[in-house]
Structures are given as structure tokens and as C-alpha cells.
């Protein structure tokens, strides 16, 4: 789960990372009031889960509270990469002497939190990484020992010459690491970590992503989820414990397992169709999940056919069959359903479907071909 910049700032600020005071606004008037409180020039920043905000016009300088209001009214409601801006962050505009990059990510290879720091920070950091990789310094932290003092210092020495700045930066490394571990982050990034002309080291922008698996034991973090920033169908799916991503096609897919779901979408495409969604009902059996999945998919008017592809392992195919039967009793499904079921309790499942006059296929290619054909007929 991605946090908004203002949420990430709060976590880092609570850990002691030096940052400017600022405020978050949902209306132009609120933005104006924050600017008035802060005084001087401010930056108005769209709070949206997408990169490239600046280039999309979602980040603006404002010299006065009135100008802040103007910018906020333009940015609020703006769409950036398909996401509507609901909130803006208002912070003092800083004169910047230098920009560094400090990132911490859960690294698959070392199986540890991995620091990446560079004295050449800012928005072009990926270009720096690609063209001058020697400017990126890495350190994987052994979680058994945590970030050791000399490691934090060593990273900070890569960023600054001035030892007072080095000491502040070393402390920030430690604070960032603690925030990362304490919140089960998959990413925590300060970019830029800036110096002011007076030499003060300060974090100007922050990004944090939380491991979704962490949220079940951390209601405080789960509460940070901003559902207004997501597509309603995805919110609904998550509440039903389904993984759902809406796509542009017309073949609605209900699959168990992410790998098989992707392979099913790929096969739809292979046979000339277009998947309407990615939908994984997960590993554990539950007829209710199937009902919810059908509700979400049938809510999309573009869907012309629904394709079930269930390979029973931990999922019992009879549970899925029961779910389909229950759903079709609860509400009318207007489009044809193609069902492929095999694996655990397959015979029971087939019987259940036959009981209501539905047919189950056994072969994945066959089912996908039928679904694609039905979608084409429906046009």
C-alpha cells in the first residue's frame, strides 16, 4: 500500500527526521489558510499515488496565500495518470543548495532492507543510476543487527563533506531504517534530502510503501489507506478479499491464483480476445468470495462474457460451484458464463453445476476459446 507524501512525512517527522512544517488541504480555502500560517512562498503538491506529478502540473510554487488558493483550486480535482487529486500538501518553498537521494527498499536478492544513497539526488535519480551507477552507493542491512552506527556514518559520508551535515544525515539514515522496519515498509525514500544555503540538512519529499501483508496486524497503518484515491471496484474487491485490477477488454476473468490468472489473461489475448480484468479469488475456498467476484465483474458494462478458470488445490472447486449457484440465485447475470473447473472435489462441483443446468469444462484452452468466441458474438 502506497502512502501519500503527507502521510509518509508524518511517519518520518515522528521519528525525528528534519522537515519543514506544512499542512494538507482538501479545499482551496484550507490551502490558503495553511499558506497564510506558514508565510512566504510555498509549494502546493498534489497528493496522488503516481510519479511524475511535477511534469503533469501537480506541483506549483505560490508566493502568496491567494496564489496558493488559485493553484490548489486547479490541482484539486485534476487527474494524474488516471487518479483524481483529492488533497494537496502545502509546504514552505526552500532555497536548495544541494539535493541528495536516500532510498531504502526490501531487496529480494540480499533478502534484506537495502539502502541506496547518492549525492546526486532529485527527480533525475533514475537517470543517474542508469548513466553513472558509481554515484549510487548501496548497503544491505542485516536485520539481526539493525543499521550499525558505522554503517549509517559510512552512508552519510557518501553524501556530505561537512561533518555536521554528515552527523545529521547519519541520524536520518537511522531514523529512516527504524521507520522502515517498525512499519513493515517495502519502500521508504527521501528525495531530495536537501541542504539549504545555510547548510541545514532537510528532507523535502518522502515516499513510503507498506507491505500489504503488514496491514492485518497494524490497523493504524491500514487506516492510512485513502480509498478516495482508488477505483471503487478495486476498493470493493479488496474489502471482499479479492485481488482485482480493471482492464480495458470485455472478457471478465475469475481465476484462483495470481499466476494462473495472468496465464488466463495471456491465453485470452493469445486466442484473440481482450481480458476485462485481473481477478484472483485467492487460495482459500469460500463461496461468498465467488459471489462478490461476480458482483464486481458484472458491474462493468463492458464485460460480455465471464470466464471462470479454477484449478482446485487448496481451493475446493465445489465451493466455487456453490458460489456460482448462489450468485445466480441472488442476482441475474446478463452475460454468458464459461466455467472451467478441475482439481480438488471436481466431481462434486460438476454435479452442483449440473443441478442448475450449468456445464463445466475441463480444459483451459477450450474454455478460453469458447469465452473469446462468445465475447465476439456479443459485439
Amino acid at each position: 500500500m502506497n502512502l501519500h507524501e503527507y502521510q509518509a512525512r508524518e511517519l518520518l517527522k515522528a521519528a525525528g527526521v528534519p522537515m519543514f512544517d506544512g499542512g494538507v488541504a482538501s479545499t482551496p480555502a484550507e490551502a490558503e489558510a495553511i499558506a497564510a500560517r506558514l508565510g512566504g512562498t510555498v509549494v502546493v503538491k498534489a497528493q496522488v499515488h503516481a510519479g511524475g506529478r511535477g511534469k503533469a502540473g501537480g506541483v506549483k510554487l505560490a508566493k502568496t496565500p491567494a496564489e496558493t488558493r488559485e493553484h490548489a483550486s486547479r490541482i484539486l480535482g485534476m487527474t494524474i495518470k488516471g487518479l483524481v487529486v483529492q488533497k494537496v500538501l502545502v509546504v514552505p518553498a526552500a532555497e536548495i543548495a544541494s539535493e541528495s537521494y536516500v532510498g531504502l527498499i526490501m531487496d529480494r536478492e540480499s533478502q534484506r532492507p537495502l539502502f541506496m544513497v547518492s549525492p546526486a539526488g532529485g527527480i533525475d535519480i533514475e537517470e543517474v543510476a542508469a548513466k553513472t551507477p558509481e554515484k549510487i552507493h548501496r548497503l544491505a542491512v542485516d536485520p539481526r543487527y539493525g543499521l550499525l552506527g558505522h554503517q549509517a556514518l559510512g552512508l552519510a559520508l557518501k553524501l556530505y563533506q561537512n561533518f555536521d551535515q554528515v552527523k545529521v544525515a547519519a541520524k536520518i539514515m537511522d531514523q529512516l531504517y527504524r521507520v522502515f522496519v517498525a512499519n513493515g515498509a517495502s519502500l521508504a525514500e527521501i528525495n531530495p534530502l536537501a541542504t539549504t544555503p545555510e547548510g541545514k540538512v532537510i528532507a523535502l519529499d518522502a515516499k513510503i510503501s507498506i507491505d500489504d501483508n503488514e496491514l492485518d496486524r497494524r490497523p493504524d497503518l491500514a487506516a492510512l489507506r485513502d480509498e478516495t484515491a482508488e477505483a471503487p471496484s478495486e476498493v470493493e474487491a479488496r474489502r471482499a478479499n479479492l485481488t482485482f485490477i480493471k482492464l480495458e477488454g470485455n472478457v471478465g476473468c475469475v481465476v484462483n491464483g495470481a499466476g494462473l490468472a495472468m496465464a488466463t489473461m495471456d491465453l485470452v489475448k493469445y486466442y484473440g480476445g481482450e481480458p476485462a480484468n485481473f481477478l484472483d479469488i485467492g487460495g482459500s475456498s469460500n463461496p461468498e468470495k465467488v459471489v462478490n467476484a461476480l458482483k464486481i465483474i458484472t458491474a462493468d458494462p463492458a464485460v460480455k462474457v465471464i470466464l471462470f478458470n479454477i484449478f482446485g488445490g487448496i481451493t475446493r472447486t465445489d465451493d466455487v460451484a456453490n458460489g456460482i449457484v448462489t450468485a445466480t440465485r441472488q442476482f441475474k447475470v446478463e452475460v454468458p458464463i464459461v466455467i472451467r473447473l478441475t482439481g480438488t472435489n471436481e466431481q462434486e462441483a460438476v454435479k452442483i453445476l449440473q443441478g442448475v443446468g450449468m456445464k463445466a469444462l475441463n480444459d483451459m484452452d477450450e474454455a478460453v476459446k469458447q469465452a473469446v468466441a462468445l465475447a465476439k458474438e456479443a459485439k
Binding site: A50, A129, P143, E189, N213, A258, S284, T315
Partner: protein, 291 residues
């Protein structure tokens, strides 16, 4: 005729009295797996299905039954603790089925697993099966057939799909291993590829990957250098939309966006047979085994 799991496997099931644990324990027993013990704290002294003794701790199970392999079906927040317990009790192969384990928990337990010299498979994986001998996890036994093709996969149900294709076409498997798709897993593609390469009873290998990360590319490099047996590969997610990415660190660390195209290119460069769809596995394996 197998890797990791064989006739000397003595299995303890952690979470044997839970919903998933009890269901799959019955399945494993029915398949012929030597399930010697179960563990559920507070239920020590009970008997599962009238024959498998249940203990409060894995240490007790090891001491009293000589268990050497463990399979974990406990809730996600307890899974890393269950892995630590198994490793600490001297279990040499730990298979964690549980999905949704916090990654930060895995970073903490992996060093312990390594210190104890144990092998972890998973978490968030279907486990593994040596057809006709033993299954540890949730791979449906009836879709497997004893034989000489090794299979390794990041997916669960997609694995079954491919195994099923093989079996329906009379191609048996030496061992099928689902390594799991989580960011931090105990056993990766290369570990399994190396084991298949060393296994005298595996003639060819099927490797099922997914988009994201660079594990498949690294595995392909390994295959190019160390694996002489024929390898057939698939990547799921060719039509998946690119995730909405936040932050730069991911791109910097991998230097790659982990697309299907990149991975397939790596497979080709390493001489894999490329499956365009799961059903292609049959033709490709037959063709390569003939050579």
C-alpha cells in the same frame, strides 16, 4: 528419482488441527506421505485421525517421532515464528504454505534458517511433490504421475495446470516444486535448478516464471552456465498492465522493470524451449527428450 522429498521423509505438520492444516494432512496421508506428527500448541497429547500424534512443540515432535521435514499451515502472523521453531528444532526441510506472511518477518527469520542449515521452501507456495512417493503441501496428488521431468514454479495453480498437461499426456514428473511468489523466499529457482541438474532421475526441467523482479533472468544465466539438461520455460503476465510505481528505489535496485519480454529474451538466450501457453509444455518436452 526425486529432489528434497523422498521415501525417507518424515513429516510433521505445523497447524495440523486448523482448517487448512487438517484438510491437507488428510490428503497427504491419503497420498502415502509419511506424516509422523502434528503440532498445535495446547493440543499436545491428542491424536489426529486416530493415528498421528499431536504435540505442543516441534521440538517434542522431533524428539519423539524423528520428524525431519515440516509443512506449515498456520495463520500469516504466526508463520515466521513457526519457521523459526522448525529450524530451531533441527528440521532440515521446512515448507511454508501460508500466504500473507509479512515480508519484514521473513527478513528476520531467514538468517536463522541459514544458521541452522535448514532449507525453507516458500512461504506462500503450494509445496512440493515427488509423485508416487510423498507430497508435502497442497499440490493435488491425482494430477501427478511418476516420471523424469522436474518442474519448478513461482505460481500455485499455474503449476497444477502445467503438471496436469504433462500427466494427461503421459509425461511423468520426478519432483514438482512451487517456490512461491513472495519477495523473500527460502528456496529460489537456482537452488531447484541445481538440484534437478544433480538428480540422476531428472531428464528435463520445466520452469514457470512470472513478471516482476529479476529472478528468472538470473536463473536463465545459471542455466546457460551450469545446466546441461533441457529446460522449457513459461512467463505469466505478458498482458498484465504495468503496476503504478511509486518511488525510484525499485528501478534503481533491479536496473530492470521485470517485464515478460525481458524474461523471455533471457530464456531464449539461455536456450530454453519457450512455452507460449501452458499446453505447449507437452510438445516442447517431448521434442527435447527425443534429442
Amino acid at each position: 528419482m526425486s529432489i528434497f522429498v523422498n521415501a525417507s521423509t518424515r513429516l510433521v505438520v505445523q497447524g495440523i488441527t486448523g482448517r487448512d492444516g487438517s484438510f491437507h494432512s488428510k490428503q497427504m496421508i491419503a497420498y502415502g506421505t509419511n506424516v509422523v506428527a502434528g503440532v498445535t500448541p495446547g493440543k499436545g497429547g491428542q491424536t489426529f485421525e486416530g493415528k498421528v500424534p499431536v504435540f505442543d512443540t516441534v521440538a517434542d515432535a522431533v524428539r519423539q517421532t524423528g520428524a525431519n521435514t515440516s509443512v506449515i499451515y498456520v495463520p500469516p502472523m504466526l508463520a515466521a515464528g513457526a519457521i523459526a521453531e522448525a529450524a530451531d528444532a533441527g528440521i532440515s526441510l521446512i515448507v511454508c504454505i501460508t500466504e500473507g506472511v509479512p515480508v519484514i518477518d521473513m527478513t528476520k527469520v531467514m538468517p536463522l534458517v541459514r544458521e541452522k542449515g535448514a532449507r525453507l521452501i516458500g512461504p506462500n507456495c503450494p509445496g512440493l511433490i515427488t509423485p508416487g512417493v510423498a507430497k508435502v503441501g497442497i499440490i493435488p496428488g491425482q494430477i501427478c504421475l511418476p516420471g523424469r521431468v522436474g518442474l519448478v514454479s513461482r505460481s500455485g495453480t499455474l503449476t497444477y495446470e502445467v503438471v496436469n498437461q504433462l500427466t494427461r499426456n503421459g509425461i511423468g514428473q520426478s519432483t514438482c516444486v512451487g517456490i512461491g511468489g513472495d519477495p523473500i523466499i527460502g528456496t529460489n529457482f537456482i537452488d531447484v535448478l541445481a538440484a534437478f541438474q544433480a538428480d540422476p532421475d531428472t531428464d528435463a526441467i520445466v520452469m514457470m516464471g512470472e513478471i516482476g523482479g529479476t529472478d528468472e533472468q538470473k536463473a536463465a544465466q545459471y542455466v546457460a552456465q551450469h545446466v546441461t539438461k533441457p529446460v522449457v520455460g513459461f512467463i505469466a503476465g505478458q498482458t498484465a498492465p504495468p503496476g503504478r510505481r511509486m518511488g525510484h528505489a525499485g528501478a534503481i535496485v533491479s536496473g530492470s522493470s521485470g517485464t515478460a519480454a525481458e524474461k523471455i529474451a533471457a530464456f531464449k538466450a539461455a536456450g530454453y524451449g519457450i512455452m507460449e501457453r501452458p499446453a505447449d509444455v507437452v510438445g516442447l518436452i517431448k521434442q527435447r527428450l527425443k534429442k
